[in-house]
């Protein structure tokens, strides 16, 4: 694993959340949360249920708007980030339910909404199928994914393969920040390993990566940086090789974080 310090040296954060607070009714889901994300860095977001991890990534992808605080995309400060702005900047989130069209093949799913066009008929755009397949193939190969067939409806693929297709699609839509919401929660041992490798390859392309995970084995296997949250606050933000499992757990649960350090 590359030393994350070298990633940060003099680097500008790509995406920053500054002092973000979010209420749901009377409940404070996020309380003055600040987070910097750097290109090529895998940040693991850990915490108990209700800690605010999902709320945070939804704010960074524009699905929720923060009540206080701001988001920086590069040099631009935004009070209210919309999905459209996030997408235009190159931010994409892979959710647990994957959002694949089960009736379409892998190639059509990977390129959905970004189909290359061959010619136009007034408002109608004729899809260039050859280029579509080439580009989908390129994305899939780049990530080292093996798929027997790009055209079989993806409902016939296994959970791990579907996850891989969703990740390949995310790389088509986003080149700055990709967030993963519990990517391995539904996967077996081998598929989990393959997915973690994929996530590392995404980061190796220079994309900032945020991974929500409950599995500390996964977290220590791939994260450069670990951010722990508890009750809407960040309780730990450190490089993975400068902390221990016990300390991370302590920060997640709120038990004394010194006793085992």
């Amino acid at each position: 694993m590359t030393n994350p310090l070298s990633v940060h040296a003099g680097a500008q954060p790509l995406v920053r959340g500054v002092g973000i607070t979010k209420y749901f009714g009377g409940v404070r889901a996020l309380d003055n949360v600040s987070l910097d994300l750097f290109p090529g860095e895998v940040v693991a977001l850990v915490g108990d249920n209700g800690a605010g991890k999902s709320t945070l990534i939804k704010i960074l992808s524009g699905m929720y708007q923060a009540d206080e605080g701001s988001i920086w995309l590069g040099d631009v400060e935004l009070q209210h980030l919309t999905v459209r702005q996030a997408r235009a900047f190159g931010i994409e989130t892979v959710y647990q339910q994957l959002f694949l069209c089960d009736n379409l093949g892998a190639a059509a799913n990977v390129m959905l909404g970004q189909e290359p066009v061959k010619s136009r008929f007034g408002p109608f755009e004729i899809i260039d199928n050859k280029r579509l397949v080439e580009e989908a193939r390129k994305r899939i190969d780049e990530l080292g994914i093996t798929l027997s067939n790009l055209f079989t409806p993806v409902r016939r693929f296994s959970g791990g393969q579907r996850q891989a297709i969703a990740i390949a699609r995310a790389t088509v839509n986003a080149d700055r920040l990709i967030q993963f919401d519990e990517p391995t929660a539904a996967l077996g041992v081998r598929q989990t390993k393959a997915t973690l490798e994929l996530i590392q390859r995404v980061a190796a392309k220079g994309i900032a990566v945020v991974v929500i995970s409950h599995n500390l084995d996964d977290v220590f296997a791939i994260a450069h940086r670990i951010v722990a949250m508890r009750l809407g606050r960040i309780t730990l933000d450190t490089f993975a090789d400068q902390t221990t499992r016990a300390h991370v757990i302590a920060c997640m649960t709120g038990l004394s974080s010194r006793q085992d350090a």
């Binding site: 959002f99 694949l100 069209c101 093949g105 189909e115 055209f151 409806p153």
Partner: protein, 333 residues
């Protein structure tokens, strides 16, 4: 080429279409055994004319169902467009009356689209409501009577014949050709399939769901309007009772043609075969002198048989794949 790019859909469609083609040939053979004159050009043209009205509407409804929606009010739209067009023809020129009927169809479709978009309950319920509303309007504006005394110029469109083939048949063929290209080769068509397959996935990929829903309902309405104008023009009159049960004929043909009711699968070729098969069963059984009551039953049986066969084939394939996957695992272990 397409078979390579979308073999999933294509395999399904081809499977179904091939089955339909075989069924169609067998039906033709059976009918011609008992009634050889059924296969005469004149008779086939009559059959083609009969199916063209349902066929034109089925193109729109097929696309709508592929996108995961449905419009049950098309029979009432058909009546309302037909009577409006025929009534207008008494005061304005025929081409304007024709266009007005088609345009009204688009507007009625759009109304349904807006309701379905804004009120997120089943489109079946919403359009069941507008089915009654539109029928009520058609009855109200005609006082329940047929529209008579329509100028003969109004009938020119529906009664026109080119190269021996009636105009409605030409229009069906033209629209089917255009729809085939749009559905299977354009971004818009691909997005209809995507939206029908998984709406949230399509929207998260940046597809504008609202526009897609509104446009697909409006286009369906315009096609229903076209069909209604052709029918009114063909008969030289229209009645507010036009198109009762039309939606069932159209949807039956579409589903028989291999469109999956939950959305995401289907083809124009399949839809055409579905329409023709139902049309042939209908007219063929009558021509060989079978009690028309049986025709209803045979049409229903054809539909039930086709979807049952689909389901069984799918289950069979699923089992086959499972067996293969298990075999792989045990041989690699």
């Amino acid at each position: 080429m397409r078979a390579q790019n979308l073999p999933s859909t294509v395999a399904l469609i081809m499977g179904r279409s091939l089955g339909l083609l075989v069924a169609l040939v067998l039906t033709f053979l059976a009918i011609s055994l008992y009634s050889p004159q059924y296969l005469s050009i004149e008779n086939l043209l009559v059959v083609a004319l009969q199916v063209s009205f349902v066929g034109i509407a089925a193109i729109g409804t097929g696309c709508l169902i592929i996108s995961g929606n449905v419009d049950l009010s098309i029979g009432s739209q058909y009546a309302l467009c037909a009577v409006t067009s025929a009534m207008l023809a008494k005061s304005v020129s025929a081409p304007i009356a024709w266009m007005a009927g088609i345009f009204l169809g688009a507007v009625l479709g759009l109304v349904n689209g807006l309701l379905v978009w804004r009120v997120p309950i089943s489109p079946i319920i919403i359009t069941l409501g507008t089915l009654t509303i539109f029928r009520g309007i058609a009855l109200k504006i005609t006082n329940g009577f047929g529209v008579r005394g329509v100028p003969s110029s109004f009938a020119q469109l529906g009664q026109a014949v080119w190269l021996g083939v009636p105009m409605p048949v030409w229009i069906l063929v033209l629209l089917a050709g255009v729809a085939h290209i749009l559905l299977h080769s354009t971004k818009q068509g691909r997005h209809l399939f995507a939206f029908g397959g998984n709406r949230e996935a399509a929207e998260s990929a940046g597809i504008d769901g609202k526009r897609l829903v509104l446009v697909s309902f409006a286009v369906n309405g315009a096609l229903v309007g076209t069909s209604a104008v052709l029918a009114a023009s063909r008969f030289g009159s229209a009645a507010p009772t036009f198109g009762v049960g039309f939606e069932l004929d159209v949807i039956a043909a579409v589903i028989l043609g291999g469109v999956v009711f939950s959305g995401g699968e289907g083809s124009i070729v399949g839809i055409l075969l579905g329409i023709v098969l139902l049309g042939v069963i209908n007219s063929g059984l009558i021509s060989i002198g079978i009690d028309p009551h049986y025709t209803q039953m045979v049409k229903g049986l054809a539909l039930v048989f086709a979807v049952t066969l689909d389901q069984l084939t799918q289950e069979q394939q699923e089992r086959h794949r499972k067996k293969l996957a298990l075999g792989e695992r045990s041989s690699s272990a």
